[in-house]
């Protein structure tokens, strides 16, 4: 379990990183926290010619509240989402989801950008970003483009990112009055990838009606799965148990695969159960927040 030979490149700025990437195109892999890429290198499942270590690119490390949104650089570590008061306070869903990623050592190294670009369908952050309606900032030779999280994930571990592009960061909305959230998942052990996970980010109006609803599921499709029909169903309706139960009836269309850890049927069942529990919890929090 030793990686194949590669050349190690350490750019000191985003411009340098993009330039290097443009020069080597397909033969290069970006290295962020390394928590997914390094195992792949060791198993020789990934064998890039160049490894572009972006850890020293200053433009990719930031965490700030601006214009009513939380802005995160791609290099923001999973653990920072729970540790940094500005992140935890403004976007508690991210803290809750990040707490379920692997173990402390992994959360201290793994990055938000890496998790999104790696796009494991069972990963926590991609689902949370979709529920939040995150906006991704992608830099490439042609400049910067903004992509909504829901459109970024295109298939099994496939994302809307060209070989000469880098995910620079993203922004998410912050909690206000009436905001509720929940991330729940079932995994064999704490720290394992989810058998099924549900991320909810919603807000209630002062009459107790759903004003805005974002729901995404992890582990039940080839990519993080946005529960669009349920979201649409809920908006404008009263936040009560019967409505949540009715929304569950709308939960369909995802396509889980069975594996050694859980059958398709069990994943489906858990998705439904967690969906209800997560919505309940989010509504309760939103009501307390009004």
């Amino acid at each position: 379990m030793k990686s194949a030979p590669f050349e190690y490149l350490v750019p000191a700025s985003l411009a340098e990183a993009l330039e290097t990437l443009a020069g080597h195109q397909d033969e290069t892999k970006v290295l962020a926290g390394g928590q997914s890429l390094v195992p792949l290198l060791k198993l020789r499942l990934a064998r890039p010619r160049y490894l572009l270590d972006i850890n020293r690119v200053p433009e990719l490390s930031y965490l700030e509240l601006k214009d009513g949104r939380l802005h995160l650089g791609a290099l923001t570590r999973h653990s920072a989402l729970g540790r940094e008061p500005s992140a935890r306070g403004s976007c508690p869903l991210l803290a809750e989801a990040a707490a379920r990623i692997g173990h402390t050592a992994i959360r201290n190294r793994g990055t938000v950008g890496g998790s999104l670009c790696h796009a494991d369908p069972a990963a926590e952050l991609p689902a949370a970003m979709i529920a939040l309606g995150a906006e991704l900032k992608i830099d490439g030779p042609g400049g910067t483009r903004l992509v909504p999280a829901a459109g970024f994930f295109q298939g099994f571990m496939t994302v809307d990112l060209q070989p000469d592009e880098i995910l620079a960061g993203l922004s998410v909305p912050v909690a206000g009055p009436g905001t509720g959230w929940s991330y729940l998942e079932v995994s064999r052990r704490h720290g394992d990838f989810a058998i099924a996970g549900v991320a909810v980010w919603l807000s209630l109006d002062d009459k107790g009606l759903f004003r805005q609803v974002g729901i995404a599921l992890a582990g039940v499709d080839d990519r993080p799965w946005k529960a669009r029909a349920c979201e649409d169903f809920l908006v404008g309706k009263e936040a009560k148990e019967e409505v949540i139960a009715a929304a569950r009836e709308q939960l369909a269309g995802f396509d889980p695969t069975g594996d050694i850890h859980a059958s398709r049927e069990y994943r489906e069942l858990m998705a439904g159960e967690l969906f209800v529990q997560a919505l309940r919890q989010a509504v309760e929090r939103a009501a307390n927040n009004l």
Binding site: K2, A4, V186, R188, R189, I260, L269
Partner: protein
């Protein structure tokens, strides 16, 4: 109550911890003083395939590659043959590197030696092998089916071993039976997967003709003897050293092809050569265990007393009968241990070890005991459920009482002491059994959560002697252990032993024994373990033996040193005879008189460091060798009691309580014993709820990383209440019994019984108990109808 004698019976702090916890341990991977060349193995991607050609020319050309070897190069090496002297056993020699065909995925086909491991692995990619794939046999039913493909032509019908025995009047008992119960229990294939995987370093000194091998092995003595035989060397030309070890669990108590290949390369190339196993190799080729099926049939009275038991047992041995215990280890183990603490007088077994195209099975903590007690303890609960008996009550009705000891069971196993009933009652008390039963009954049957209590009562074989191995036909396991002990002129002691310590704490426990016998402090005793160049040959640390066999040898060596010391001291104290002297607190004193010499003065005298001599001296020095071959077999006993709460929405169990009552005779160090119990139980909990090596139908291992092979973390293991009953063994030195495996034996049955007990309380229970481990959350939901009957995984 724990018996305290000197330092024996006290929770002395582990001498090894200061070093190990600071990261100052020296494991195999740390041994780089020789600047060894590194090895990587080209392993078969096929479970079963004929090898037509191996092309290595390109790999040899790669800069940094020193040599590439294939099967033919190992022709001069005698193949490894596991000799088991039992009727019905077929031996199949194993080449260290496959020559004609590969018979499991991961079997070695070629070997690269290079300047570093990176280059070695680069070279692996340049090797080409032409295979002709053959049908792979990956489960026991397929292997036994008429006309099945053969794993080896030398193993007819894929049956490595079949043993059938009848004890007592089984036919008659079944003919008269009031009730007959039949049930099948299965356990999954699992791995011991120690945190430090295996590894090997070898150096050959042609001037002295000495081969030194460092191996992360639990059996340096057995490896020593076998390498001498395989290479045709004198035993005196070999030294085996087992460095610090990060776990073994029995996995390192086998001789593996790599342990032959690495020394062979060191001799052939006249270079130091090293290989460190990675996790993939560990899961792919470290011996696997369990993968058992127990088909039980019991004749039972209406009162729940078992009058006869029939067992048909199938074990999946994998492709080779691993050395030295052989594939019979589990097949005879499960069949012989299953009667446990119960008075079943009529018993019959038919046990088969089946060859398949999977990695070889071998020793893993508890060997067949977790699975056989899973079967019998599961059956007890099923019978109790049908008869409306409390699980504790059915056990009482079948269990040996202390008044009935000593007792010889129908197989001929002799139990000389124990506390089966007492342990059960103590466990029930400690868990507030009646109260929890009450709590349990107050939960409505249609609730989304249920509580269950699981019991496991078991006996544990320990300290197997030379006769014990002989009776199970194991030819290459001596059965005794040994130490060399030296008290130096300053009065401190060193103990040299080939027994290894991969977590057992022998530095501490052996020091406690020696210190107690010699009246010194444990800190004045140094234990040097795992080195055949410094210590006499013995057997090794596995199968709950070292405290009996190694401890016994320490007792004997210390007494001999004491005898010499007292004679020497007597010469210094008015020629007093030894009976009038006593040893303690660093002095030799005359009983009832003021006369004394320090231990140090006596020790110096024994060495005659200053000329002059003394007539009382019989041999110069204070250095002795002691061997200990324990009495035929020694059994400890214990009870595990698990209380779990099932979430019937997600299927997840949660521990509410976990109690262990253990009786391993006199305890040397209670803290270390408790640690062994907790660690073992953690592994048993893994076996009950998480662990399974899964193969696809083509014989590919699907769980070749710790991402897919799930072992319990600290979060999955409950805090345990551990209590002891002390029934000293009448026949071993110090009255000790072994217990290193016990934790792992009791957890599997206790946990699964608890899950079943909880399921029974649910109105939605399908009436079918879970009889297969591990129990996944969805297996639990399946039993309450929340998930469809039989899933795609065939459960």
């Amino acid at each position: 109550m724990t018996q305290v004698t000197g330092y024996i019976g006290r929770s002395v702090k582990r001498k090894e911890d200061a070093r190990l916890l600071r990261g100052e341990g020296r494991y195999l991977d740390d041994l780089n003083h020789l600047k060894p060349k590194q090895v990587a193995f080209w392993r078969s991607p096929y479970a079963h395939a004929r090898i037509k050609a191996v092309r290595t020319a390109e790999a040899r050309e790669l800069p940094g590659v020193i040599a590439v070897f294939t099967g033919e190069d190992f022709a001069p090496v005698k193949p490894l043959v596991t000799e088991i002297q039992l009727e019905g056993y077929v031996a199949k020699p194993q080449d260290p590197v496959a020559r004609d065909k590969a018979s499991h995925a991961g079997e070695i086909v070629a070997v690269v030696v290079a300047e570093d491991r990176y280059i070695a692995e680069d070279a692996l990619e340049l090797i080409e092998v032409d295979f002709e794939p053959l049908p792979a046999v990956v489960d026991v039913d397929a292997a036994l089916a008429e006309g099945s493909s053969l794993v080896h032509t030398e193993v007819p019908g894929n049956i490595y071993y079949r043993g059938r025995r009848v004890f007592g009047e089984v036919e008659a008992a079944f003919a008269k039976a009031e009730l007959v119960f039949r049930e099948t229990f299965r356990t999954s294939r699992i791995a011991g997967t120690p945190l430090e995987a295996r590894g090997c370093l070898a150096e050959y000194d042609p001037y002295q003709d000495v081969l030194t091998v460092w191996s992360s092995t639990q059996i340096p003595s057995i490896l020593h003897l076998k390498l001498a035989e395989i290479f045709g060397m004198h035993e005196n030309g070999i030294r085996i050293i087992a460095p610090d070890m990060g776990g073994g669990f029995g996995i390192k108590a086998q001789i593996y092809p790599e342990e032959i290949i690495i020394p062979f390369l060191a001799r052939a190339l006249r270079l130091p050569v090293k290989w460190v196993q990675d996790r993939r190799e560990d899961l792919l080729t470290g011996v696997h265990a369990r993968d058992h099926r127990y088909e039980l049939e019991a004749a039972v009275t209406r009162e729940g007393v078992l009058t006869a038991l029939r067992l048909r047992m199938l074990t999946d041995a994998g492709a080779f009968s691993s050395f030295p215990f052989g594939c019979t280890l589990e097949a005879t183990g499960g069949a012989r241990m299953i009667l446990g603490p119960y008075k079943i007088r009529n018993y019959e077994y038919d046990t088969i070890a089946v060859a398949t195209n999977k990695a070889p099975a071998g020793a893993y903590r508890g060997v067949a005991q977790p699975s056989c007690f899973f079967a019998i303890e599961g059956l007890m609960d099923i019978i109790a459920g049908k008869l409306g008996l409390d699980p504790a009550e059915i056990r009482r009705r079948n269990m040996l009482s202390s008044a009935e000891l000593p007792y010889t069971n129908p197989i001929g196993i002799h139990f000389d002491s124990g506390s089966y009933g007492e342990s059960l009652e103590k466990a029930l008390q400690s868990a507030r059994y009646a109260e929890v039963r009450g709590e349990q009954s107050r939960i409505p049957a249609d609730a989304g959560r249920q509580i269950g209590i699981g019991l496991a009562c078991y006996t544990e074989i320990s300290g197997i002697s030379s006769k014990g191995y002989q009776s199970r036909g194991v030819a290459d396991v001596p059965g005794y252990d040994s130490v060399r002990m030296r008290m130096d002129p300053s009065g401190t002691v060193a103990i040299y032993t080939t027994l290894t310590s991969q977590g057992q704490g022998h530095w501490t426990t052996f020091a406690q024994i020696a210190a107690t016998e010699l009246g010194i402090e444990p800190d004045q005793v140094r234990v040097v373990d795992g080195d055949t160049g410094l210590a006499p040959l013995g057997t090794g640390t596995f199968a709950s033996r070292a405290s009996i066999t190694g401890g016994g040898a320490v007792f004997r060596a210390a007494r001999e040193i004491k005898r010499i010391l007292l004679r020497v001291a007597g010469g210094m104290l008015d020629d007093l005879p030894p009976e009038e002297l006593e040893l303690g607190e660093g002095f030799v004193r005359a009983r009832g008189r003021k006369l004394k010499v320090t231990l140090r003065e006596a020790a110096r005298k024994a060495y005659e460091i200053r000329s002059g001599g003394s007539e009382t001296r019989e041999i110069p020095g204070l250095e002795v060798i002691a061997y200990y071959d324990p009495p035929p077999s020694n059994w400890s006993n214990a009870v595990h009691l698990a209380v779990v709460e099932l979430n019937l929405v997600t299927g997840f169990p949660r521990f509410l309580d976990y109690v262990v009552v253990s009786d391993c005779g006199n305890l040397i160090n209670p803290m270390i014993v408790d640690g062994q119990i907790q660690g073992g139980a953690a592994q048993g909990i893994g076996e009950a709820l998480l662990e399974a090596l899964e193969y696809d139908p083509g014989g590919q291992l699907l769980t070749a990383s710790w991402g897919d092979y799930l072992i319990p973390t600290a979060l999955d293991v409950p805090e345990m209440k551990i209590e002891h009953i002390t029934t000293p063994c009448p026949s071993t030195e110090g009255g000790v019994k072994g217990m290193g495996e016990g934790g792992a034996i009791g957890a599997l049955p206790a946990v699964v019984n608890a899950v079943n007990d909880a399921l029974r309380r649910s109105r939605c229970w399908t009436g079918v108990p879970i009889t297969r481990a591990p129990v996944k959350p969805e297996d639990i939901l399946r039993r309450v109808g929340a998930v469809g009957a039989e899933g795609g995984d065939g459960r």
